[in-house]
Symmetry: C2
Subunit: 758 residues, 2 copies
C-alpha cells in the first residue's frame, strides 16, 4: 500500500459525486471538485473562497462558478464518454504528497477504437490562480483524426441535484476568444462580483506541436475551442491544459487583460516548472503537518487524507475568508463557516501552520461589523458572531429545513446557538497561547474578546431568586435539545470568555495603553462594565448532579427520559434505542459531545475524576449523529483511560469521508472531522495539552500495533519534533522550550535531541 495515495480501481458512475469530494484539489484560494472530464455524471464544482451569492436562495451560499474543466476527445465522430465506452485498467489516484490527481483508463468506443488515457491535474499552491492538466493519449488500435475540445461551461448551477432548491448565482458576462485560449467571465447576481476562467491547450509529441486546425465557438453559456489532430497507433500525444482563474476579489483591474497576461506567463513558465514549484510547496507543507504512524497502514493513510484536505482548504493569503464546514469540496451547508473552524480545525493550523491560523482568525476580525449587526438586530450589544457566516459575518443560517422524513422544520440554531461567540474567543486564546503572537492579540484578538464579552453582558439574565446569572433558551453543541436553559457548555464558555476578556484587558492596559484606551472608547466599555463582568463570571450558573460529579448538560436534563444506548451496528456505531412514547428531545439521548466537548476544550478546568464520570455518563447517551463527535470522545476517552473506544473513535473520525460514514460525502468534506482527526492523534494519543501555567504537556499512549508516532508542532516560534516509539520518546526543538512528559518537566534546547525511555 502506498501510504501517500488514495486509490480507486473501479468505476461506477453512481459514486462519482463521492469521489469528486475525495479527489477535490484545493489551495485555500479555490477548490475544484475531482470531476471526471469524460463523464457527465456527478456534480462538478468550482469554488473560490469568499464568492457568495443569495439571489433566489433561502440564504447566501458559496457560488458554484463556471466550470473550466471541460475537455472532450472525439475519435473521428465518436466522443469518448466513460459511461458509454468499455473501460479497462481504470485507476484514479490522489497523490497527497504532491497534491496531484491522476486518472488513467483505456476506453473502447462503440466502433471498437481503444485509446489509453492518462490525466494528471493539479491546482497550484505556488501561484494560486493557476491550475493545469496533462493528458497523455495513446491510440491502441487505430490511426486517425482526433478532435480535442477544450471548453468552459457557464451553465452551472448550485444544488444541481436538488430540483426544488437549485439556483444559478451568476450571469455569463462575457465570452472571449482570448488568444491564447478561451475565456468566460461571470458576474454574481447580487454583488456583481466577477470571476474569470481562462484556459488553453498545447499539444505535442516528440516532433513538437500536434495540432492542425483550431475552431473557436460560443454556444450560449459555453465557450469552446476544438483542435484537430492526427494520432497514430502506439504513439503518445501529450496535451497540456493551462488554466487561469481570477476574480475581482483579487484585483480591481480588468480581469481579461490580467488573465491573458497571466496565461501567457504560465505557458512561458511551462507546465512542468509550475508543477515542480507546486510539489516543492507541498513538500514544505507536509514537513509541517505530517503525522507518521508506523505499524498501522490504514491509520497512516487515513490521517494523511485529513491532513492533506485540511491543509488544502486554507492559506495565509486572504484574511477575509475562512474554511467552510465542507471546506472547498462541495456545497453542503452552503459554504458557510461554523464553530467547526475555530474549535475543530483551528488547533491543527495553530500547531502546524500558524500563519494560516492567524488568517482564519483575521476573517472573524474582518467580519466584526456583521457580528455587531447580528447583536444589534437581535437586541443585544457587542459582537454576536453568526452561527453560520459567509462573506460579511451576518447570520445566514437558514430558518427552515427538512427533518429525516422530509417535513419542513424550523431551524433554531441561528437564533439560539450562542456558544459560537465563546468558540471564537477560545480560538484566539489558543492561538495566542501557542504562538505568543502579541501583535495579533493587541491589534485584533483583544477587540474580539472584549466585544464578545460585551455581548454576553447583554445576553445573560440575572436571577434574583438564585442570585446567579443564567442563559435561557439556547442550543448547545447537542442539537437534539432546543430552547434549553443554562446549557453548561454555553454558560461555562460564556463565563470563560468574560474571564479571558478581563484578563487580557488588564494585560493590554500595561502592554499597550493607547490601544487599551482606544478600544474602551470604540467599544463603549469602562470599569463599571468590567466590574459587572467579574460578577457575572463568578455567578454564572453551572448545573451539576447533586454530588457535583456529573455536569448536567442543561438545566432539567437529568429529568428527561433516561434512554441509553445498548446496541451498536456493524460499524460499531450506536443503534437508535427504542424511545417510544417520547420525542427525541424528551430523552437524554444526545447528538454529539457537549459536556465532553467542554472538557476537551478546557481540560485544566476539570479534575480527572470529574472527566471520567462525565465521560462514562454521556458516552452511553451520545448517538454521534455529527461527524464532530467521535474524535472528541476519543480524546476524552484517552484522558480518562478508555483506550479501547478511543481507537475506534479515532478510526471513525479519520474515515468519515473515505468510508462515507455519514452518508453525505457527496456534498463535501467533513472538514471538522479532519480537524478532529488531528486533535484525536495529537491531543488524544499524544496527550498534548497546555497546562494552567502555559507549559506544554504530553502524555502519550499508543495503540498496541503503533510502533512510532512522529509529528512536528510549532510552539511559541520553535519547531518541536516529537517521536513516540514503543520504548522511548524523542524530542527535538529549534528553540529552547520546556516540555512536561508524563508530568515530568524537561528543558529542551536547540539542536539537542531529548531521548527518554517510556
Amino acid at each position: 500500500m502506498d501510504l501517500w495515495k488514495i486509490s480507486l480501481n473501479e468505476y461506477n458512475n453512481y459514486d462519482n459525486k463521492k469521489y469528486e469530494t475525495l479527489f477535490t484539489l484545493a489551495n485555500g484560494y479555490r477548490g475544484i471538485r475531482g470531476a471526471l472530464e469524460f463523464s457527465s455524471k456527478g456534480n462538478r464544482g468550482n469554488y473560490i473562497a469568499g464568492i457568495f451569492d443569495k439571489s433566489q436562495s433561502q440564504v447566501t451560499e458559496i457560488v458554484n462558478l463556471q466550470d473550466p474543466l471541460g475537455f472532450n476527445i472525439y475519435i473521428e465522430d465518436e466522443k469518448v464518454d466513460m459511461d458509454e465506452c468499455v473501460l479497462d485498467n481504470f485507476n484514479r489516484e490522489l497523490d497527497m504528497q504532491s497534491g496531484v490527481l491522476n486518472t488513467r483508463f483505456i476506453a473502447t468506443t462503440k466502433k471498437g477504437k481503444s485509446i489509453d488515457i492518462r490525466c494528471e491535474r493539479f491546482v497550484s499552491r505556488n501561484k494560486i490562480n493557476r491550475w493545469a492538466s496533462k493528458y497523455e493519449l495513446t491510440p491502441l488500435n487505430f490511426n486517425g483524426k482526433v478532435f480535442i475540445e477544450n471548453y468552459i461551461d457557464g451553465s452551472v448551477t448550485n444544488g444541481a441535484w436538488d430540483v426544488m432548491n437549485k439556483n444559478k448565482h451568476f450571469k455569463v458576462k462575457s465570452i472571449f476568444d482570448s488568444n491564447p485560449g478561451i475565456a468566460l467571465t461571470i458576474e454574481t447576481n447580487d454583488n456583481n462580483m466577477k470571476s474569470l476562467e481562462l484556459t488553453t491547450l498545447m499539444g505535442e509529441n516528440e516532433r513538437g506541436n500536434i495540432f492542425k486546425t483550431r475552431r473557436y465557438s460560443e454556444f450560449g453559456e459555453t465557450v469552446s475551442e476544438v483542435y484537430e489532430t492526427y494520432m497514430t497507433e502506439g504513439k503518445t500525444a501529450t496535451i497540456f491544459k493551462y488554466g487561469i482563474s481570477l476574480s475581482d476579489k483579487d484585483m480591481k483591474c480588468d480581469l481579461f487583460t490580467a488573465g491573458t497576461s497571466e496565461l501567457k506567463d504560465f505557458i512561458k513558465d511551462g507546465y512542468g516548472a509550475e508543477l515542480e514549484e507546486h510539489k516543492k510547496i507541498w513538500r514544505k507543507i507536509w514537513d509541517e503537518i505530517d503525522i507518521k504512524i508506523s505499524g498501522d497502514e490504514k491509520a497512516q493513510l487515513g490521517i494523511r487524507f485529513n491532513l492533506f484536505q485540511l491543509a488544502a482548504s486554507a492559506y495565509d493569503g486572504d484574511t477575509k475568508v475562512s474554511i467552510a464546514a465542507k471546506a472547498l469540496h462541495g456545497e453542503g451547508y452552503k459554504g458557510h463557516i461554523f464553530w467547526d473552524t475555530e474549535v475543530f480545525m483551528l488547533p491543527f493550523f495553530i500547531y502546524t501552520r500558524p500563519k494560516v491560523a492567524k488568517a482564519l482568525l483575521m476573517y472573524r476580525y474582518n467580519t466584526l461589523k456583521g457580528a455587531r449587526e447580528n447583536a444589534a438586530i437581535t437586541g443585544y450589544k457587542g459582537a454576536r458572531f453568526a452561527w453560520e457566516a459567509a462573506d460579511e459575518g451576518l447570520e445566514v443560517t437558514p430558518k427552515w429545513g427538512f427533518d429525516y422524513d422530509g417535513n419542513a422544520v424550523r431551524i433554531w440554531t441561528g437564533d439560539e446557538e450562542y456558544h459560537i461567540n465563546s468558540d471564537i474567543a477560545f480560538g484566539i486564546v489558543e492561538y495566542y497561547r501557542a504562538t505568543n503572537d502579541k501583535e495579533f492579540l493587541v491589534n485584533y484578538g483583544i477587540e474580539i474578546l472584549l466585544d464578545t464579552a460585551k455581548f454576553w453582558q447583554s445576553r445573560v439574565e440575572y436571577s434574583k431568586a438564585e442570585d446567579r446569572y443564567e442563559i435561557s433558551s439556547v442550543i448547545g453543541p447537542d442539537e437534539f435539545h432546543e430552547h434549553v436553559d443554562n446549557n453548561v457548555f454555553t454558560n461555562y464558555l460564556a463565563k470563560w470568555n468574560i474571564e479571558k476578556a478581563l484578563f487580557f484587558k488588564d494585560w493590554l492596559k500595561t502592554e499597550d495603553n493607547v490601544v487599551y484606551k482606544v478600544l474602551c472608547s470604540k467599544l463603549g466599555l469602562n470599569d463599571e462594565d468590567f466590574k459587572l463582568w467579574d460578577i457575572m463570571a463568578e455567578k454564572m450558573y453551572i448545573p451539576k448532579s447533586e454530588d457535583g460529579m456529573i455536569i448536567e448538560q442543561f438545566q432539567g436534563y437529568f429529568d428527561l427520559a433516561d434512554i441509553k444506548i445498548t446496541q451498536y451496528d456493524e460499524n460499531e456505531m450506536p443503534v437508535w434505542p427504542d424511545f417510544e412514547g417520547n420525542k427525541l428531545g424528551e430523552t437524554q439521548l444526545i447528538k454529539q459531545a457537549d459536556v465532553a466537548q467542554l472538557m476537551i476544550m478546557l481540560p485544566e478546568e476539570f479534575t480527572d475524576e470529574v472527566k471520567k464520570s462525565n465521560y462514562e455518563y454521556y458516552e452511553k447517551r451520545t448517538m454521534h449523529k455529527s461527524s464532530l463527535s467521535p474524535s472528541m470522545y476519543s480524546i476524552l476517552g484517552l484522558a480518562v483511560g478508555d483506550r479501547q473506544n478511543a481507537y475506534k473513535y479515532f478510526m471513525k473520525a479519520i474515515f468519515t469521508d473515505l468510508e462515507d460514514n455519514q452518508g453525505n460525502t457527496d456534498f463535501g468534506l467533513h472538514a471538522a472531522a479532519s480537524g478532529g482527526s488531528w486533535q484525536s492523534a495529537i491531543f488524544g494519543f499524544v496527550g498534548l495539552r497546555v497546562n494552567k501555567e502555559g507549559i506544554l504537556n504530553i502524555n502519550p499512549w499508543l495503540p498496541e500495533q503503533w510502533e512510532d508516532l512522529s509529528f512536528n508542532i510549532n510552539w511559541k516560534g520553535s519547531r518541536v519534533s516529537i517521536s513516540i516509539l514503543k520504548d522511548k520518546i524523542k524530542v527535538d526543538s529549534t528553540g529552547k522550550i520546556t516540555l512536561n512528559i508524563y508530568d515530568k518537566k524537561y528543558l529542551i534546547d536547540k539542536e539537542k535531541q531529548l531521548v527518554i525511555a517510556r
Copy 2:
C-alpha cells in the same frame, strides 16, 4: 403484428438517435424528434419549417430550436434517468393511424424505487401550434414525495454530434414565468426571427389536482417549473403537458401575449379534446393516402411508415416552405430542399393531397426571386433554381465537404447540377395534368416554366460544327461523374422544359391573354425568343449508342472503363467491384438511376424496347449509393418485366429508414425514399401513368403473396378508389373518368363500381 404500429421493445441508448428520427412527430408546420425525456443520450431536435440561419455555419441551415420536451421525475432525491435505472417492460410505439407516440417502461432507481411510466405524445394536426404529452405515473413499491420538473432548454445547438461543425443559431431572447406555465423566446442570429415555446403541466388523479407547490426558476438558457406532489403505491397520477409553439413567421404581434392566450385556450379545450381532433384529421389523411397491401405484413407496415412520415412532413398552410431532404426529422443536409421534393415526393401529394402539392410548388414560385439571383450571379438569365434551397431560394449548397475517408473535397453539385430547373418544371406539369388546376398554372406555374426555359436559353451552347445545342460541364443525377458534357438526363429535360414552356405559353395566350402579355413583359420574352427555343429544343444533343437503343448517360460515358457489378451483399445490394487503376469517375459505375430516372419521369417518350435495353444496361452498373435509386429501378423494372428485382428494390426503398440501410437514419428521414416508395407501389406495381393524350392508365402486376392492393387517388377533382385483387380489379370514382386498364379503355361513372377480371 399491428400493421399501424412501429414498435421498439429493447432499449439501447446507442440507438436513440435513430429512433428519434423514426419516431419524429411532425405536422408540416414543425417537427419534434422522438426524443426520450428520460435520457440525455441522443440528439433532440425541434424544427419549424422555414426557420433557417447561417451565422457561423458554412451555409444556412434549419435551426434546431429551443427544446420544449424537458420533463423530469424526481422520486425524492433520485432523478429518473433511463441510463441509470433498471428498466423493465420497455416499449415504444408509434401509432401511425392516430399520429401518437407512446412510450412505456418501468424504471427502478438505485435506491430500489420502481415506477411505471406511460407517456403519450402528439403534435397536433388540428391546431399546428399545439403539441402535448400525457404521463401516467404509478409508483409500484413506494409512497412518497415526487417532484415533476417541466423545462424548456435554450442551450440547444445544431450539429451537436459534430464538434468541428456544431453551431448555435440563436440567442435566448427572453424567459418568462408565463402563468400558466413557462416560456422561452429565442431570436435567430442573422434574421432576428423569433420563436416561442410555452408549456405547462396539469396533474391529476381521481380526486383532482395533485400538485402541492410549484417552483419557477431560470437557469441561464433554461426555464423550469417544478411541482411537488405526493404519490401512493399502486395509484396512478396523470400529468398533462400542454405545449404551444409560435414564431414571428406565423404572426407579427407579440408572441408572448399570443402564446399565453393560446395556451389558456388549449387548457380550456383540454388534452383529450385536442387529441380527438388530431386523430380525426389523421383519419381523414389516411383515407386519402393509405395503400392497403394484403398478404404481406412487412410490406404493409413498411409502406405505411413512409406514407405517414411523408404526410406528416407537409401541410397546405404555408406556401413559403417545402419539404427538406430529411423532412422535419433531422438536420441532415441542413434542412435544405433538393429535387427530391418535386421528383420523388411531389407525385404522392399530387395524387393524394393536391392542396399540399400546390403549397409545395408555391414555395418554388415564392422563391423565384432567389432563383433569378442565382442565374444572374452565375452569368445566366431567367430563373436558376438552387440545387439546395432554404428560405430564400438562393443557392446554399456547401462548397466543401468530406469524402468517405474524411478528406476535404470540393462539392460541385451547387455549381453543376442544373437539372433541378427542369425537375421543378416537371413537378408543375405533373401537378397540372393530374389536377387540372388552371388557376395555379395561369398565375404561378407558367411563370416558372417560362423563366426556367429562359435560363436554359442562356445556358445551352450552340455547336456550329455539329449544328446542335449542347450543355457542357454538368452533373446529372449520378453524382459519381462531375463536369460531364451533355448528360442526357439534363439535356433531355432541358429540351422538355423548353417544349412545355412553349406549349403552355401558347395555351396561356388564348386562356388569359392579359396574363400572357404581362408575363412576356415581366420576363422580357418575345416571339424571337420563342422561335429560338423551338430550335434549341429540336436540336438538343442526346447522345446514344450507335444502334440508338442505349442512351449514353453523357457524352463519352461509353468510353469509360466498363466495370460491372457482379456481387451482391447479404442485403442483396451491390458490392463495390474492383476498379483498381481507375478512379471511380473513370468507370461506368453510377451512383443512382440517371438514364433510368429519365425514363420513369417521361415514360411516354421511350419505347418499351428502349426502356428494356437501357434498364438492363444500367442496372448492372448502378451502385444504389443514394436512397433515391432502388424505388426508381423497381418502377422501370416492372415496366420492362423484371419483376423479381422490382420487389427487392421496393422493399429496399420502404425499409430505407426502418432498417437504416443507408446507415444515416440518425440524421433524419430519407423523405425522397418515402416518396419513391409510394411511386414504386403506384407507378410500379399498379403501373399507373398518364399517356400522351392525358388519359390515366393502370397496368397492375402484384407479387405472388399480395392478395389485394387498394388505394385512392385524386384525378382531376375526382376521387378514384382502386383495388387490385388476385382475380379482379375494382374501381370507384366520385366523378366521371376515363381509365385505361391493361390498355383497354373504361369509362367510370360516379358511384358505379367498375369490376373487371384480371
